[in-house]
């Protein structure tokens, strides 16, 4: 089928889908509501005895894949090889200390779709340019989100990108609502700067970030009529949280809002500044939760910074600091291990991690190091239970399959490709930059369903369709000259022994399934590879023919067709949605 026909097909399918697209309402999703957690599934997990003591158990493909799946996006075979050449401890060290990937870039990729009127030529950076208009800004924003997807797909052997997403989910802005790509670029820079850095410094800088000031109304917060939005979320969502017994009071929200008066956004210079004329210079007194602390009112050009530092020292110090550290460590635990936290885990895992965070003055690395090197992290009860996020699914599988996303014909096509992948992720419930609200993505806070929310009657079919489409001969259509599709023989050749169908199946199971599967199941997959013949040598001969002449059309078609059918079947399995 030629391109023309394909385009026509896409259009007809698109029209058809439009008619079908009825707004999804999870409260009416009978399947989800029947099967998802009704209560926190505390009874599932046997009381764990594993602690934060360093893991000393076996270190093999499977355990390395567990670590890489959680610390990165997908366990790419070459990364697994790297990991098992190290120890669990040195692998975590590498993940923490390797040079991270570059920041996302902000370039004019949209010129041929919508001309930039701010003097930014095609291919040039807009990060210091004028705003332009809403459409220009739209293309800049979606381009930024597309490059975020690219960064993840091209990630180094590093924890960086996972932590960028962690921080985004914890302290999010909504790109569309902020509506100025230039500030969003700076916001993403902050996420990258602090991904493996100091959380307290991160919050301090984020408080003064232009996108955040826009998003939570800090830019209009003034002494005449304080806006409490940021002052509340700073406490409720970014630091101490709202769980548990003793809590901050409403008065604390009001007091914090006063502390934060006077920060302004300078759109023309794409920066933020403190305007003392709007700052509330009175003393701010906090509740018993904060030990009845009074922050002395300041005036002058440094007032904002002085009071902000005092505010964060108060919140993130003393007893409230312990509460905040526990809150952040629970967030980390749910992001890297599992959502279910019982009292046992709270005592033996979360509390010691929180102590580490405080003892290291809010540096994130020591906490991550302690968690990811721990025997609890490698506990069998911690493995295979993580429902892959849409980003794990899309970027992870892209990495694992070595989907050749480059070279693309043009710079513009590259953007379109990642824009499209961003939309797939968004449709599945996790568009980076478009968290549904300031609380982040629901699967990380909505008790008792938690991550089960990623799998429902709306998103699950899209997830499976995306994978199916990736495996077709045509892949994901980008435009007339480019598509985004898996090269299956190339993927197979990254595995340990693709000529042996038993090993091939076992390798795919290891890399792509959250749980091991039985011999019966593996034989079932192998039968697809063997076209229902029973002799392994038929596949071995076919594979060796392909290796001997990789461009021979017969040899290529024979192995591609069989891998496609087998992987299509495997990736439809529920096991594939877990890691």
């Amino acid at each position: 089928m030629g391109t023309d026909t394909k385009i026509k097909f896409n259009h007809s399918a698109f029209e058809n889908q439009l008619q079908k697209n009825i707004a999804y309402d999870i409260t009416k999703d009978e399947a989800f509501n029947k099967a998802a957690n009704k209560t926190s599934p505390l009874n599932i997990r046997k009381k764990t005895r594993s602690t934060l003591a360093p893991y000393t158990g076996v270190w093999n493909d499977s355990t390395a894949i567990h670590l890489l799946n959680r610390a990165m996006f997908g366990a790419k075979p070459s990364d697994v090889t790297t990991a098992i050449s190290l120890t669990p401890s040195t692998t975590v060290d590498a993940l923490l200390n390797n040079t991270p990937s570059a920041y996302p870039i902000g370039l004019n990729w949209y010129e041929n779709t919508y001309a930039d009127t701010t003097g930014v030529a095609f291919g040039n950076s807009w990060i210091n340019a004028d705003y332009g208009d809403g459409t220009i800004d739209y293309y800049r924003r979606i381009g930024l989100q597309a490059m975020w997807m690219k960064n993840i797909m091209k990630q180094n052997f590093s924890l960086q990108e996972k932590m960028v997403l962690f921080l985004y989910n914890l302290v999010p802005v909504q790109f569309q609502l902020v509506g100025d790509a230039r500030f969003l670029y700076q916001y993403i820079q902050l996420l990258h700067q602090y991904a493996l850095g100091n959380y307290k410094d991160f919050i301090r800088d984020m408080t003064k970030d232009g996108a955040m000031l826009y998003f939570l109304n800090g830019y209009i917060n003034n002494k005449y009529s304080p806006d409490e939005n940021y002052g509340r979320e700073l406490q409720e969502l970014f630091t101490v949280g709202k769980e548990g017994g003793q809590q901050y009071a409403e008065a604390d929200v009001q007091a914090a809002a006063k502390v934060l008066t006077g920060w302004r956004v300078d759109s023309a210079n794409i920066s933020t500044f403190f305007d003392p004329t709007f700052h509330d210079t009175t003393n701010k007194t906090f509740s018993a939760f904060y030990n009845n602390t009074t922050i002395t009112g300041q005036s002058g050009s440094n007032a904002g910074d002085i009071e902000l530092d005092a505010l964060l020292a108060m919140i993130m110090g003393g007893q409230s600091g312990i509460t905040a550290a526990n809150y952040i460590c629970k967030k980390l635990y749910r992001f890297f291990v599992y959502y279910d936290i019982d009292s046992n885990i709270e005592t033996n895992i979360i509390a010691p991690l929180a102590t580490t965070l405080i003892n290291n003055n809010w540096e994130l690395k020591p906490v991550l190091e302690q968690l990811l090197k721990s025997e609890h992290f490698f506990d069998f009860q911690s493995q295979g239970c993580y429902i892959k996020t849409p980003i794990d699914k899309i970027c992870g599988l892209t990495r694992v399959l070595s989907v050749p996303v480059e070279p693309l014909t043009t710079f513009e096509d590259e953007y379109w490709l990642y824009v499209r992948q961003w939309y797939y992720a968004d449709a599945m419930g996790m568009g980076v930059g478009e968290a549904p609200n300031v609380s982040g993505f629901k699967p990380y806070y909505q008790n008792p369903q938690w991550q089960e929310l990623f799998i429902n009657s709306n998103t699950h079919p899209k997830r499976l369709q995306w994978t199916d489409q990736l495996l077709t001969a045509y892949g994901h259509y980008v435009n007339g000259s480019t598509s985004y599709k898996a090269n299956l023989p190339l993927f197979a050749s990254t595995l340990s022994n693709p000529a042996d169908p038993d090993v091939l199946v076992a390798d795919v199971v290891k890399h792509c399934f959250g749980l091991p599967v039985s011999q019966i199941k593996r034989d079932y997959f192998k039968a697809i590879l063997l076209s229902n013949q029973t002799n392994n040598s038929y596949w071995t001969i076919a594979w060796n023919d392909y290796i001997a002449s990789p461009t021979d059309p017969t040899a290529l078609a024979v192995v591609t067709n069989r891998l496609r059918l087998m992987l299509t079947e495997m990736f439809r399995m529920a096991e594939h949605q877990l890691c």
Binding site: T5, F9, H11, S12, A13, F14, N16, Q17, L18, K20, N21, I22, Y24, A31, F32, A36, P41, I44, R45, G134, Y138, Y338, S382, G384, C385, I387, Y423, Y424, E452, I455, S457, N458, H460, P461, L464, Q465, W466, D468, T472, H476, L515, S518, I520, K521, Y524, I528, S531, N532, A542, P553, A557, N561, R564, L565, T568, M573, A574, E575, Q577, L578
Partner: protein, 525 residues
């Protein structure tokens, strides 16, 4: 420009991601919003019975007239001639003794055999040969999708993503057993899906042989995802309805993997499922060794397989007949290649080329297309069963004469090549008969004299020579008799037609020579 406009302009939308062939619901409650439409004019069903491994055609449809040649080439696997099941009206051809049930079907007019089906430059690899048969490609071309997938994508525009739709709620194709075949790969992904056990929908939607979930958090989430997998399957309601409404009216043979599959197909058809294509498969035909029992060539692995095929297809046919559903169901066997004329020393046969394709159903034209295969007097390992018909001629017949696909569309589906149809099906859905459609006098001028005839007539035709076969049909397309069957030399030929028992009326004859054919009208006065 807002986000919505952008989506429209760029063709990107969250909805547009649903561009592929997974049989799953886009929206949880969609099934409530659509009404099922049944009983359209194109409600014919075809069952593709895959004999994987490469079936030994010479020991299946046995050329009784070539016993000397067979004995010289394959005595150690040869079925004793006195055990071959004879077929009414044929002195040249019989069936393997294990195929008693199919012999009965043949003699009752429910079987059509096409001899020597193959293609040029045969490939002897299971994988490549399977791909060729599935994709309907030439030996040296490579197609990504299957011929059935292309047909379904053409018939059901937008398939698989646009389905189920208000027009068609049933699966577009169902493969019983293992996972989907390349046959069902459409231009935009897999069309249809595989199921094995009607009583366990969990397995239908989550794959076969489900592992029990471990008693861990991973097992907890696995169970949850499996349930959503099942419930979002867009065809589950349709299958459940059909399975509940359907029934089997005959006892199917036990210990018969193929019969188990056809039993499910019959039940779904009985329950009103409109799915036009079913694929069933039985493996084990790769009989390099021990094809026959060393002490008795009539029994052994191959005999068991053929017995299963024969028993299963017969039970399926009887089941549908008893339920009055046989009118709209037909099927055929297909295998990736035949086996060598000369047997090997392990009581087996090695990979070969052409072989017979057996079509079955109430509405097939009974009889045999083509000649008893022409075998050398003393075949060596390089001799192969000669090809008489291209396998895509059978596919073209299925498409045009069974499903009523236009010749132009058939050509497109078959990779833009035209294939002469064969007289396999009595009548296309639009009522025209397959034989009357013939209009390509590729064999040169044909003259019939006298016409109308009384006691006898003579057909004159010119030919390049080869295996010739002339068949007479009535005006309903039903095969009446074989007029002539022999190898001819290049030149002008005359063949006599005797009236015999022919009643007054209009008849059509078709001359098949090698892979060409031509037809003409004959009136009996």
């Amino acid at each position: 420009m807002n986000r919505k406009d952008f989506l429209k302009a760029s063709g990107i939308t969250t909805a547009a991601i649903a561009l592929n062939g997974l049989p799953i619901k886009a929206i949880a409650d969609k099934a409530d919003q659509v009404k099922k439409i049944r009983g359209t004019s194109t409600d014919r069903i075809f069952v593709f019975v895959v004999l994987s491994g490469g079936n030994d055609g010479l020991n299946t449809v046995i050329p009784i007239d070539k016993y000397a040649e067979l004995a010289a080439a394959r005595n150690n696997v040869l079925i004793p001639q006195n055990q071959v099941l004879t077929l009414n009206g044929s002195i040249t051809t019989g069936l393997h003794p294990a195929m008693d049930k199919m012999r009965t079907m043949y003699n009752s007019g429910a079987i059509n055999i096409t001899q020597g089906v193959g293609y040029s430059n045969f490939n002897y690899s299971h994988f490549r040969a399977t791909d060729i048969y599935n994709t309907a490609s030439d030996a040296n071309t490579f197609l990504n999708d299957g011929w059935i997938g292309r047909y379904l994508a053409k018939r059901f525009v937008g398939a698989p993503n646009a389905y189920p739709s208000v027009d068609f709620l049933d699966p577009l194709a169902v493969q019983i057993g293992n996972s989907l075949s390349t046959l069902l790969t459409g231009p935009d992904g897999q069309i249809g899906f595989a199921l094995q056990d009607l009583n366990n929908f969990y397995q239908i939607t989550n794959g076969l042989n489900l592992d029990p979930p471990p008693n861990t958090p991973a097992g907890h989430e696995l169970t949850f995802i499996r349930y959503i997998n099942e419930q979002t399957h867009s065809y589950i309601q349709s299958i459940q309805n059909a399975a509940a409404a359907g029934t089997n009216t005959v006892t199917y043979p036990t210990n018969n993997y193929l019969a188990n599959q056809l039993k499910i197909v019959a039940k779904l058809i009985s329950g009103g499922m409109q799915t036009p294509f079913y694929i069933v498969e039985i493996g084990g035909f790769d009989t390099h060794s021990n094809q026959v029992n060393s002490s008795n060539n009539s029994i052994g692995d191959h005999a068991e397989l053929l017995g299963k095929v024969s028993d299963a297809i017969s039970a399926f046919y009887e089941d549908l007949k008893a339920q009055g559903k046989d009118d709209k169901v037909a099927g055929c066997t297909v295998t990736e290649f035949g086996r060598r004329i000369k047997s090997n020393a392990s009581s087996g046969t090695d990979h070969g080329t052409a072989g017979p394709m057996i079509c079955f159903g109430k509405n097939v034209i009974p009889g045999i297309n083509g000649m008893s295969p022409n075998l050398p007097a003393a075949a060596d390992v390089n001799d192969q069963v000669p090809m008489q018909f291209d396998f895509r001629q059978v596919y073209a017949s299925i498409l045009e004469d069974w499903f009523g696909v236009s010749a132009a569309d058939t050509k497109e589906i078959l990779n833009n090549q035209s294939y002469t149809k064969l007289p396999i099906f009595k009548a296309a859905p639009n009522g025209s008969t397959s034989v009357i459609d013939y209009n390509n006098y590729t064999l040169g001028a044909i003259h019939v004299y006298p016409n109308p005839m009384k006691d006898h007539a003579t057909i004159n035709f010119e030919s390049e020579g080869g295996q010739a076969h002339i068949v007479l049909y009535n005006d309903m397309g039903v095969r009446i008799k074989d007029i002539y069957q022999n190898e001819i030399q290049k030149g002008r030929w005359s063949v006599n037609i005797e009236r015999g028992t022919l009643t007054t009326g209009t008849y059509y004859f078709t001359i098949y020579i090698e892979n060409k054919s031509a037809s003409g009208k004959l009136i009996v006065d």
